[in-house]
Amino acid sequence: MPETQGSPYEEPLNEYRPTRRGFLSVLGLAWLAFTGATAATLAAMGRFLFPNVLYEPPQSFKAGYPDEYTVDVVDERWKAKFGCWIVRTNSGFYALSTVCTHLGCTPNWLASELKFKCPCHGSGYLMTGVNVEGPAPRPLDRFYIGLGEDGQIMVDKTRVFRQDKGQWSLPGSFLEFKVA
């Protein structure tokens, strides 16, 4: 493209006069820089979601000796730390998750009415964990429960037993323990 040489009064010489190609390459560079900065920010934010240290309680824990539990009482001592109720019946133990199967609130155990009742939408569960009231679609999950070598009860929250999948009859969902 021929350069137009006009009079200095009409065309200041130091004025920036981009060609189409030059303009596009500058724009491309700017756009690339912007994309790079955005990607870096997003990457940093993504990294933030995976912290180096997670202060979570372990997923499996020892829950004391069987004779520390009373028959037909819902034991709430592990609720705050491990999110789990341990119930002892005449024939043994099971561990219930404290997460409501409707939307994940924490139900309360109402000892006088013998049921778990969720304060968010009113789901109610029997002592066995079976849902009878409100919108909860399925019973509370049970966790693996067993006896350790030292005679203590072991609960493993990574192994979940769901009643609607027929898993409550599997070994590990219930710990047989007769009253001596």
Binding site: T106, N108, E113, P137
Partner: protein, 360 residues
């Protein structure tokens, strides 16, 4: 006397009675709108509301709910919603009479008295801005923000309530699967409202209040807004207590209130109670009654309605727009139907397919 009155209002707080009464009140005020929109009626209703509220505050349990900093805006909202509904209906009644006589409407008359944005409107707005600003300052100084104890995953407040303006949505979650009540239905509310200008191209009522020219549109809108939103906010605020049980407005919130409820699914009623058989193992067979009911509700009912009640709309709107209208209306009606079924028969789900997280 006081106890008897409180007992009476507690009895009205029964959800079935409360809901049907709200619908009845809306229907009555629309049907007898000439009487309802008289100045005297409006003043009497306002006086009743104020007297009821002040009298109610004398009760410890009512006071605890109504004066919770979270809930104070509700009292203002109720008065404002009531007033503006009354005002719109009043202008509609006047306009309908004027148009029946062939005279210009209130809005057409006002059009000849136009004023300038600057200074008339801007000054009015400035004064409003200062008054509302002052109100907000006083409000925020005298009513402390309800900050609660630090969050703990093991402890849910009992009852755990959403902010008051979302209590209608929270109420919906009691009756349907979370992803339906929390995602699909709210989306349909928004999409349905957006769709109104496209499915309803009736030019009547543009720029002036009327009722007789748009009875169907106005009634369905008021049902959706006043009943399914505002009255559910009231229900969630005043009638839902600990364990999400129902309490009367003057009832003590007893955490251990015994409420024997055993929910049953439609599949259990059909197979076990009526046919005396065990539930079929395969989900499609098990949920067949509920699925057929839904197919009939969304597939067959619009056709019946098009030939009977909604015939006029079907002819005016044409097939496609009628279908969308009918679908949105039936979606809206599903909520009160499900609520009444739950309250009356402890019906849990019409269709419960845990296999696909589909619970309707």
């Amino acid at each position: 006397m006081n106890d008897a009155l409180q007992g009476f209002f507690n009895a009205l707080g029964d959800p079935r009675l409360y809901f049907l009464l709200s619908c009845g009140l809306l229907g009555a005020s629309l049907y007898w709108r000439k009487w309802f929109t008289k100045i005297g009626t409006g003043v009497a209703l306002l006086a009743f509301a104020v007297v009821f509220f002040v009298w109610g505050l004398g009760d410890r349990d009512f006071f605890a709910i109504a004066m919770k900093p979270d809930n104070v805006p509700i009292a203002g909202m109720l008065v404002l919603v009531g007033f503006f509904t009354w005002l719109a209906l009043r202008r509609a009644v006047i306009n309908d009479e004027l148009r029946a006589r062939g005279e210009p409407t209130l809005e057409e008359r006002a059009a000849s008295q136009k004023v300038f944005v600057w200074p008339d409107l801007v000054y009015t707005e400035l004064i409003c801005l200062m008054l509302v600003g002052a109100l907000l300052v006083v409000w925020s100084v005298y009513l402390k923000a309800p900050i609660e104890e630090p969050a703990a995953p093991a402890i849910s407040p009992n009852p755990a309530k959403a902010p008051w303006y979302f209590l209608g949505l929270q109420e919906m979650l009691v009756y349907f699967d979370p992803w339906l009540a929390g995602v699909v239905f709210p989306s349909f509310i928004i999409l349905g409202l957006q769709a109104i200008p496209y499915i309803d191209r009736n030019p009547k009522g543009n720029g002036y209040y009327t009722f007789t020219e748009r009875p169907f549109a106005i009634t369905s809108f008021l049902f959706g807004f006043l009943i399914l939103w505002v009255s559910l906010v009231i229900l969630g605020t005043f009638l839902r207590g600990p364990n999400w049980s129902f309490f009367g407005p003057f009832e003590y919130w007893n955490t251990n209130k015994l409420e024997p409820l055993i929910n049953v699914n439609l599949s259990e009623i059909f197979w076990v109670y009526w046919l005396g058989k065990p539930l079929p193992q395969f989900w499609l067979v098990r949920e067949l009654p509920g699925l057929l009911l839904l197919v009939g509700y969304f597939g067959v009912l619009p056709i019946i309605l098009a030939r009977t009640v909604l015939k006029k709309i079907y002819i005016e709107a044409g097939f496609a727009r009628y279908q969308v209208t009918a679908f949105l209306l039936l979606m809206m009606a599903l909520l009160p139907i499900k609520m009444l079924l739950r309250w009356a028969f402890n019906l849990k789900y019409l269709v419960q397919i845990n296999e696909f997280f589909l619970n309707i």
